[in-house]
């Protein structure tokens, strides 16, 4: 494989990654809707943490460092206090809005 081909493949993968992001964020929003309104949230909360964790781990490598940072902040907040109290919920909602902004292409 040549470096030129590698560059092209990377570009394709990055585009594939970015195309899939709205779907991932929609899933995150749906899980948050369940977590923020239900009393028993064990499994959805776990899934939400994992989704955010995965985005935090991969976005930076695909050229979206801001998205990684916000996803990490949201995951950390969620683990610490995301479902406790109105303030915690509002902060989580803000972070999810930031997450959406960070996923948009620049400009």
């Amino acid at each position: 494989m040549t470096f030129q081909k590698l560059g092209k493949e990377f570009e394709e993968l990055r585009n594939e990654y970015r195309r899939g992001m709205p779907q991932k964020l929609e899933r995150v929003q749906k899980l948050w809707a369940i977590v923020s309104t239900s009393k028993s949230v064990g499994r959805p909360l776990q899934e939400l943490c994992r989704e955010l964790h995965t985005i935090a781990g991969s976005a930076g490598t695909f050229g979206l460092p801001q998205l990684s940072e916000v996803a990490l902040a949201a995951e950390t907040h969620l683990i610490a206090s995301g479902t406790v109290g109105e303030e915690g919920k509002q902060k989580m909602a803000r972070l999810l809005a930031e997450l959406k902004d960070a996923s948009l292409p620049p400009g």
Binding site: M1, L6, E9, F10, L13, E16, Y17, G20, R50, H53, T54, A56, G57, S58, A59, G60, T61, F62, P65, S68, L72, A73, T76
Partner: protein
């Protein structure tokens, strides 16, 4: 060694810890991770149990002689009293920073022996990663290095991939997976006669000092936090396999 003595990494030590290609032993690495910040001898002795205090002291002296760590002050009976600067303040700032940004590292221990490949021989890497695009990206880069990859993202796929012959020459292991914890996989590999010596690099967004220590404690040869620079990860992979 004075249990109140407080040590910290030197610039040389920090550079060694983050250069993917360290020749430090497992215990040296653990102490260096703990000292990335500052800690007293007494604190280290508690944290690295069951290692004997004498072994901790020997290792610290060795690291100090090598210029990897240096004396940063001492703890007084009234609390923390540091010569030249305040541990309390630095500690608080460090903790706040860790909470905000995580503890990002790229650690890779040099293989004990260099690996010489026979003509036509290829290295096989098992990539355990549940993000499909990231898994593809890694496979692409390993292919570029003339290495074969197997991909797995769940408990069943990991078991199936490890049952194939030949055994992988390297396992790149995520921690947070859908139905299994990567640390548990690592521990099982280290208990398995045929797999205990396979180099393993934890490659994960689990970026806390505790997680890094847990990975090293359970026998990982490297720990690279996500998001990673692919070139750094490739260098780490070659280092733990023993390739130039």
């Amino acid at each position: 060694m004075d249990p109140k003595a407080v040590y910290a990494l030197t610039a040389k030590g920090r550079s060694e810890l983050n250069a993917p290609g360290t020749s430090l032993s497992a215990i040296e690495l653990k102490l260096m991770v703990m000292l990335d910040g500052k800690a007293s001898v007494a604190q280290l002795e508690v944290q690295v149990q069951p290692l004997a205090p004498a072994a901790v002291a020997d290792t610290l002296e060795k690291l100090a002689r090598a210029g990897q760590i240096g004396l940063a002050g001492e703890m007084s009976s009234a609390g923390i009293d540091i010569v030249g600067f305040s541990l309390a303040d630095e500690s608080a700032a460090g903790l706040a920073s860790l909470k905000k940004h995580g503890y990002f590292v790229k650690i890779a221990r040099q293989a004990a022996q260099m690996r010489k490949l026979a003509k036509g021989e290829k290295i096989t890497v098992l990539v355990v990663e549940d993000d499909p695009q990231l898994a593809k990206l890694l496979a692409m880069y390993f292919r570029m290095e003339n290495m074969e990859t197997r991909l797995a993202s769940s408990r069943g796929e990991i078991a199936a991939a490890l049952n194939l012959k030949p055994l992988p020459d390297l396992v790149l292991l995520d921690v947070v997976l859908p139905d299994v914890d990567g640390f548990e996989v690592l521990s099982r590999m280290r208990q398995h006669e045929a797999m205990k010596n396979i180099p393993v690099i934890m490659c994960t967004a689990r970026a806390t000092r505790e997680a890094v220590l847990e990975g090293l404690q359970r026998g990982a040869d490297g720990y690279v936090t996500k998001p990673f620079d692919v070139d750094v990860l490739m260098k780490a992979a070659k280092t733990v396999i023993g390739l130039p």
